[in-house]
């Protein structure tokens, strides 16, 4: 397979798997933070934002110490055949982690806009929490969920610092687009390659954002048509 195609496919796989794993976590956290009050809520909220404010190298370092080949958890998980250090799975883990704050923020805002009075009315009508989530929260918060997914995916595509620190820059295993651009920059004759890879990176990001806008607009349009019918 062409090296560039291999890099692009690896980048997409890393971002998709990372965001795919972060999505359920993000959904649960954003829903809980939006709907419930509990002791330590501010702390939990701050922790979910941590990956976006921590220097990426520090994030990578922490992951290396925890989940690397000699990390506390890394050695334990290796016993079950689960390895993150210097593997694409580790790159996916980093991608999901740094995407999480951008997934949670719009989802939380979307869940917060759902009127609590509607929840009360449905509770009186006999609907439990899970059914209220299905018939009320998810449909009402859908545009925010899509927005969170796309923002997270875009962030995951471009992740660099934490990835290179945690899983290094191994061709065919952990060298995603950002790392490939960095590698090309190190070469004296790499200018053309840098711009080629950068263009691909920009194109993927733009396509993702435009697609998400189209999806949200289409959903909103369908809702407006249904409301005006």
């Amino acid at each position: 397979m062409n090296e560039t195609a291999e890099i692009v496919l690896l980048t997409l796989r890393v971002a998709a798997v990372g965001v795919g794993c972060a999505l359920p976590v993000g959904l649960v956290l954003s829903y809980v933070l939006a709907r419930y009050s509990f002791p330590g809520k501010s702390l939990v909220s701050a922790l979910t934002m941590l990956p976006i404010v921590l220097p990426p190298v520090v994030t990578g370092l922490v992951l290396l110490d925890l989940l690397g080949p000699r990390g506390v958890l890394g050695e334990f998980l290796a016993g079950f055949g689960i390895v993150f250090g210097f593997r694409w799975t580790g790159a996916a883990l980093v991608a999901g982690l740094v995407a999480l704050p951008l997934i949670i923020r719009p989802m939380r805002l979307a869940f917060e806009t759902v009127d609590p009075k509607l929840h009360e009315a449905l509770a009186v009508a006999g609907l439990g929490r899970f059914r209220r989530l299905i018939v009320l929260d998810l449909p009402m918060a859908w545009p925010g969920i899509v927005a969170g997914l796309v923002l997270g995916f875009a962030k995951a595509l471009g992740e660099f610092g934490a990835t290179i620190t945690f899983v290094a820059n191994i061709p065919g295993e952990t060298r995603t687009l950002s790392l490939a651009v960095f590698t090309a920059l190190q070469r004296l004759d790499g200018t053309e390659m840098v711009w080629f890879l950068a263009s691909i990176s920009i194109a993927i990001s733009v396509i993702a954002v435009v697609a998400s806008e189209a999806i949200v607009e289409r959903m909103n349009g369908a809702r407006r048509r249904a409301q005006n019918a």
Partner: protein
Amino acid sequence: MLEVNLTSQRGSFRIEAEAQFPNGVTALIGPSGAGKSSLLRIIAGLDRPASGSISLNGAIWAEGGTRRHLPVGKRRIGMVFQEARLLPHRTVADNISIGARGGRASDAILTETGCDALLSKPVSGLSGGEAQRVMLARALAGQPQVLLLDEPLSALDHDSREQVTNLLARVLPKLEIPVIFVTHSFEDAARLAGQFVRMEAGRVVASGAALEVLAGQGAARQEAAVSSLVQGRVASVEVSGLARISVGNQVIEAPAGNVRRGQDVVVRLWARDLILAQGRPKGLSARNCLLGKIAGMQASGPHQSRVEVQVDSHRVSVLVMTRTAQDMELREGQAVHLVFKSSALEVSGLRTPDDAGF
């Protein structure tokens, strides 16, 4: 029978309520901030009482200070709120079926509420009155044990209000469950309810079927809000829009509104709107003059007196300046005329057994 005997504390606002709600419609009345909606929330299970209990036909729903609390969804309550709380992205049919607790709303409910013609409509296209009809259909679809109506008419325009009031007048008498109807409106309470519970400042201050409860007499109220109710029968309705109402052997003229000839009605007289005269006055624009006898007098504030006038079997309160009472030499047993304008009256048709026959 739904029985509440509870206290609740939310911030500085305390509720102390002891009341029984038998099968049939009970109007829960009182001024804004009296705690009516808060009591409804506790009955529904949305809030917990601090102490005391709520029970339905002897089965305890909640007991303050213990873990005994039947969850809101298991109380089989139908509830209609002031504003329509419907799923905006679903159709009318979906919204009604949500209340059916796994079943489906009976055709009778859909027909009765007029929702059968709205089923495929999106909720956002409904008028205020239609939305409240859908709310009522949803509340009834689950065959509730108790129906709670939290000011369901107050956010509606005049026409919608009339439609929904007529709907409630048709539907509610057929329900053999406790129905609690929160309202500010004396007309709505008189028309729809057979029992009244009055709350003021978080407390139940009066209850029963007597019209005095509805008028708020005997309660610790601001004197400016004192009113009396006089019961009568519509003798005729004139083309001018005035109804002639027989009260004993005297007649009151009042705006006819929706009342009809032969109907029993209740007329509200505000104490601040009444004038006392020692002889029958002439040449006044006020159309009403009732002869009565002073039954009692008491101070009502530093410069004001409250005069109780007996008109046939009714006791009517009148507020006058104390100086005026002295100048007129008012005393108990004295015959006086009560003078008042027709436009100052509120008239409401009383609920009759015929209403249940619709």
